[in-house]
């Protein structure tokens, strides 16, 4: 087995040529491409890491904001609840006040109506009683109601005690020696003189009497002088009647 030197050198040359060609067309290019890709991937990884870090940061921030928002919302809700409660109480108070005002108004109105009703009742009752009493007296004893009233008035004047008589005398003197006798009916002249005589006997002389007819003096007669009064009327009986009637109505209303 011999070695052809030409072929040997030829093969060495061929191999070296191949090394050169492959270095130029294969290794260099492939290695560059690989290195470039590795660098790109590394850059992408680092970019991804950076983005991830940013994203984490953003997520943390978002979480924090969310938490703050939740806290704020809760706080606002609490505040709103408190405000609503306060407002409710205020409105309730207002409504209560309004109801109270309406109630008071209603009660006032009711009392007024009640008063008017009893006033009216009293008037009517007085007239009816007056008429009935007059008729009864006339039918039974041929007596005059007005005369009986005046009789009762004169009896009261004569029944005054000394102290009271003294007070009235002083009042008559202080009031310019003028006395007003009011009555619901006209008093006859002889009856007037009876009254005058009784007054002079019981109290004093030297005063003038003026007679006035007043329907307000419910079926009665009264003497007014400077703050003092001697009177008889149906009012007392009517007061008792109204009181009894009120009690009866209230009892009926409660039982209903």
């Amino acid at each position: 087995m011999h070695i052809d030197w030409f072929v040997l050198f030829c093969q060495i040359f061929n191999f070296l040529l191949l090394v050169y060609l492959l270095k130029r067309f294969l290794y260099g290019r492939i290695l560059n491409a690989m290195d470039e890709r590795e660098a790109k991937i590394a850059a992408r990884f680092s970019e991804a890491k950076e983005i991830k870090a940013k994203a984490t940061e953003a997520a943390d921030l978002y979480d924090k904001k969310n938490q703050l928002l939740a806290e704020k919302s809760e706080q606002m809700l609490n505040e709103a609840s408190l405000a609503a409660e306060a407002r409710r109480k205020e409105l309730m108070e207002k409504v209560r006040e309004e109801v109270d005002a309406i109630k008071t108004r209603w009660q006032t109105m009711l009392a007024r109506e009640k008063d008017a009703f009893f006033q009216d009742l009293r008037g009517r009752a007085a007239k009816e009683i007056y008429a009935t009493a007059r008729k009864a007296l006339t039918d039974l004893g041929n007596a005059d109601l007005e005369a009986q009233i005046v009789e009762e008035f004169i009896r009261r004047v004569r029944g005054l005690d000394t102290a009271k008589s003294k007070e009235i005398r002083k009042a008559i003197t202080g009031g310019g020696n003028k006395v007003v006798v009011q009555s619901a009916f006209d008093i006859a002249t002889d009856t007037q003189s009876k009254i005058e005589q009784a007054l002079k006997q019981q109290i004093t002389n030297g005063f003038t009497i003026r007679y006035m007819t007043q329907p307000d003096v419910v079926s009665g007669i009264e003497l007014r002088v400077n703050g003092h009064k001697i009177a008889w009327s149906l009012n007392e009986y009517l007061e008792t009647l109204v009181e009894n009637l009120t009690e009866t109505i209230q009892r009926e209303a409660h039982s209903a």
Binding site: M1, I3, L8, L21, F25, L31
Partner: protein
Amino acid sequence: MEIVGINQISPDQVILWSWGFITINVTILYTWLVMTILVVTSLLVTRKLSTDINVSRWQHFLEVVIATIRGEIKEMAKKGSDKYIPLIGTLFLFICLSNVLVIVPGFVAPTSSITTTAALALCVFIAVPFYGISANGLLHYLKEYFQPNFIFFPFHVMGELARTLALTVRLFGNIMSHEKVIGILLSVTPLLFPVIMQALGLLIGIIQAYIFAILSMVYIASATSAHEEGHKHEEVKDAEFSEVTS
């Protein structure tokens, strides 16, 4: 198709053209064929290289091959491994393709010629001192021949020559003998058995390419790393000395 006769031990003996001492034989022809395939494939694949994630299959294949070669070299030469890739990679690719193409009928592996293997071994024989001297300097490289003392110089020289011869003969012997075995088997049992042997031949061819390339790298690495180790020893000695003096 028989190009190299069973009695011809090397394809060098099949001369295609000759003029004076210039001879073109089957070995050179098939060497050129392998070179053309390698260079043309490289040109075609690397013409449109992609540096993105989407890579063509051929580029991917070549990247895998080169990355594997790079990884193997890196294991031995700790730093500056890329400068050995052209030599070691070309050795592996050339020998591997030559041996694998044996499966094509009519192809004669250039590596079955002792001239080719000798040429490759000579390249390694020259490359070892070349890289050694470029890494460590001439003096340091030569100093290694006298380690541990000058008596070992002839043994070092003999070792260098012997391993070059071993590289030559190992590759040549494996490939040539396998071709002969296939030839003989074809004449004896022409059916299935030679197919199995062919498959085995492919395995042997790839292993031989790997061995040749790896051994070459080992030789280069030993020549280049000697200096670094020597330096480390000197640094350790200096440190010890400074400790003692202080």
